[in-house]
């Protein structure tokens, strides 16, 4: 008897709690909604320049900041732009979804953020785009961005955008730093000219990766003519163990300089353990490999975020396909490790950076490399019929291959002489 009473009491309590929860639910949904609908007012309030505007921005991430690489780099961009725009009187209300997969959960995340009243939704991973495109038509008043992908120019939607940065420029500079180090070692008699071999840990044999390591190689070659390169693909954008193993295998194969297009710092530590040098990506890796890591390059996403979010705050349109590099500071170099870098590296980097910025130097200058012994004279950039073979827009003109010129996503997939692919099983 007593037991039954107690249970009845508990059940009653549960129901009361449930009711309270429902009641509370009503309140909580209304408050933020009420707060967030004000930006609509700011769009119309063209006269009030001084008033603070609030933009609700959704960000969908494939990882979280713990990766210390790809997503972490977006978070840095997010924090930087929040500060920059606050100074301009624009507040950003971020709604972030972490660890979303490249599947229908991405579609759900886009719907959820749209329903929460975001005015701009940023998808940070390549594979998010197809799922974003299923949601975008239902919310024409919301702007959708798919970073690093490429459908916005052909999807017939006005509210979809792509963005990328000319990371190959940064890779070229990292290559210059690596090349100078190797040339210095050759000049000092530490290695022979033939021993100047770079080992590159790549994620997949994908345009973005191929474009990156080719730029890196050309940068190194510009200051160390005898350099060659071996590329090992790991078949994952982020697999700390495999990346470390690949770097180790490259060191064993005689590489004396390691670089990477993958998300973790294990190639840097593997390089340090093997006593060779390293240049990184996404993040400054000097702290994990102080005796090995020369320099890193990364995209500063805050440049694009500022451009896009400010446009949304002011009710203006913005480019559907955005790609800039060092010209706008969207690609930056991390600090140079002066203790181990070759002498004069800083000055040389500054000089080359200025040439890239001014357009005097083309990274993919066709006079600097050959394909099967011959100069590259023609190469298409875009695939218009969906068969994944580029068929239109000649990318080679004015003596250079123009990367990220016709669309923001990289399309350089040529295998040039001097770079040996150890595997391409992931292509």
């Amino acid at each position: 008897m007593k037991k039954r009473k107690l249970i009845a009491l508990l059940l009653a309590g549960a129901m009361a709690l449930g009711l309270a929860a429902c009641g509370g639910g009503g309140d909580t949904t209304q408050t933020p909604a009420g707060g967030e609908t004000t930006p609509a007012g700011t769009e119309t309030g063209a006269g009030g320049e001084t008033e603070t505007k609030t933009v609700k921005v959704g960000l969908i991430c494939i990882g979280d900041e713990n990766d210390q690489g790809y997503t972490y780099n977006f978070i840095r961009g997010k924090d930087a732009v929040t500060e920059k725009l606050a100074a301009k009187g624009i507040n950003i209300d971020w709604q972030i979804k972490w660890n979303i997969g490249e599947d229908s959960s991405c579609e759900e995340a886009n719907i959820e953020l749209a329903e929460e009243g975001c005015q701009l939704i940023i998808n940070n991973s390549f594979g998010f785009e197809p799922f974003m495109l299923k949601v975008a038509p239902d919310y024409p008043e919301i702007e959708f961005i798919a970073c690093t992908n490429q459908a916005s120019w052909c999807d017939d939607l006005d509210n979809t955008h792509n963005a990328f940065a000319n990371i190959y420029e940064g890779r070229y500079l990292a290559g210059v730093a690596a090349g100078m180090k190797m040339q210095e070692m050759i000049d000092n008699g530490e290695i022979t000219a033939e021993q100047a071999v770079i080992g590159y840990v790549g994620a997949y044999s994908f345009a973005e990766v191929i474009s990156g390591f080719t730029a890196y190689y050309l940068g190194a070659k510009s200051v160390c003519p005898s350099v060659t390169m071996k590329v090992q693909f790991v078949g994952s954008w982020s697999d700390a163990t495999e990346e470390g193993n690949a770097a180790q295998a490259l060191c064993d194969a005689g590489c004396i300089m390691i670089s990477q297009h993958s998300d973790n710092t294990t190639p840097a530590t593997a390089a340090q353990n093997a006593g060779v040098f390293h240049t990184g990506y996404n993040n400054d890796m000097i702290s994990v490999a102080p005796e090995s890591s020369l320099i890193s390059t990364r995209i500063d996403w805050s440049v694009y975020f500022e451009y896009a979010i400010e446009a949304v705050a002011n009710g203006e349109e913005f480019d559907q396909d955005w790609c800039h590099g060092m010209d706008e500071g969207a690609v930056v170099m991390t600090e140079l490790n002066e203790d181990i870098a070759a002498e004069g590296t800083a000055e040389k980097l500054a000089e080359v950076e200025e040439q890239i910025r001014s357009g005097a130097l083309q990274v993919f200058d066709t006079s600097t490399f050959t394909v099967e012994g011959a100069e590259l004279t023609t190469c298409m950039a875009l695939d218009t019929d969906g068969d994944f073979v580029a068929d239109s827009e000649e990318a080679v003109f004015d003596g250079a291959f123009h990367e990220s010129y016709f669309q923001s996503a990289p399309y350089f997939t040529v295998e040039i002489d001097g770079i040996e692919w150890l595997n391409s099983a992931f292509g």
Partner: protein, 362 residues
């Protein structure tokens, strides 16, 4: 006084409990889950009332939210139905994950390569049949080994999951890859996409039909009866002249075929493509659904919706209150733990040392 060797706490099987009491225990466990989760919210610095309110409004507050919740529940329900006959037979099929994936592969083959050769509705039917056959065959393999050589079906079905997921990874990076190097299979042609009914892909209708069919099959057919007899006692079944091996294989083919159908629904209706995570853990979560529903098909509808609400609600929680994603997982875990745990107390009772005279005497 009492036997010093008897343990402090002992378990004893309960006799059948009155229905009212059973439900009271279930209610109490739900309340317990509610309170423990509330404690977690408090520790995180959020009001539990606000948190629960967010979960409910996030999962059921708007038509779009309800649709999303239903989308989560569809594969859960379908897969729980698929594994129910196996579990009834006491054949531990934990390979639904692989059978879903196998079904998705079969359906995707036709979606990718036959979209221009078959008219729309026919294409979908062919995809569904291909999905069911592939899933069924994938389920048949461990059943065959079990029937012929008595292999352990738990390990066998589990391992088969990883093989199939590996196959899809290979397809993704190899023969079916879209843009070179992307590791992504292209989106299906619109003809290969399940049409929407009331804003949700019509997989929900398919799984509801499956629910009724499974209920009838288990309750009113000879095959359903055979499954129940084998579940109670294999020897009895043998004595009654049933071909146990054949029934095991037949049931596993059926189970795999239904999971394969779910694979088709997910690939065609939700993802519109094939990827290695197509099953997304549904094959395992569905085991929970099936158990909580005590293998009753209609109860599975409620349980899978409840899990859908928990998942979608937890998702909204993450967005609105900015709690880490792992907190949402913890809340879901607490609810499942309490709800499954209470079944234990319904079936067993705890006996403290010397607490029960009658038992102490034994």
């Amino acid at each position: 006084m009492h036997d010093p060797h008897s343990p402090l706490i002992r378990l004893a099987k309960r006799d059948a409990m009155p229905r009212g009491q059973v439900w009271a225990i279930r209610g109490a466990s739900f309340v317990a889950a509610f309170l423990i989760s509330a404690l977690i919210f408090l520790l995180m610095g959020h009001s539990p009332v606000e948190a629960y309110g967010t979960m409910i409004s996030g999962s059921l507050g708007k038509p779009t939210a309800i649709r999303q919740t239903v989308r989560i529940a569809i594969p859960l329900l379908g897969t729980a139905l698929a594994i129910a006959p196996c579990f009834k037979m006491r054949f531990w099929n934990i390979g639904a994950e692989g059978q879903i994936t196998a079904g998705a592969v079969g359906a995707s083959y036709f979606a990718l390569f036959w979209a221009d050769k078959l008219p729309g509705p026919a294409l979908l039917v062919v995809m569904a049949i291909a999905g069911a056959i592939c899933g069924g065959l994938w389920g048949l393999v461990p059943a065959f080994f079990k029937a012929k050589w008595g292999t352990n079906e738990t390990l066998f079905t589990l391992m088969m999951n990883y093989i199939m997921i590996g196959v899809v990874k290979w397809l993704q990076g190899g023969p079916w890859e879209g843009r070179p190097g992307s590791q992504i299979i292209p989106q299906f042609d619109s003809a290969a996409v399940l049409p929407k009914v009331l804003g949700v892909h019509c997989g929900w209708i398919i799984v509801l039909i499956m629910t009724v069919a499974m209920f009838v099959y288990m309750k009113y057919t000879k095959q359903g009866y055979e499954i129940a007899v084998i579940g109670e006692s294999e020897n009895t079944a043998r004595y009654a002249g049933m071909n146990v091996g054949r029934i095991i294989m037949r049931t596993m083919f059926l189970s795999g075929a239904m999971a394969g159908l779910v694979g088709f629904i997910v690939a065609s209706g939700a993802d519109n493509t094939l990827h290695s995570g197509v099953a997304a853990g549904v094959g395992f979560t569905a085991i929970t659904v099936a158990w909580l529903a005590q293998l009753n098909p209609f109860a599975m509808i409620a349980i899978s919706m409840l899990l859908g609400i928990l998942e979608k609600g937890a998702d909204t929680l993450q967005t609105r209150l900015e709690v880490p994603a792992s907190i949402s997982d913890i809340i879901t875990g607490i609810f499942l733990f309490c709800m499954l745990g209470c079944e234990f107390f319904i079936n067993y009772r705890l006996i403290l040392r010397g607490g029960h005279k009658e038992v102490a005497k034994q």
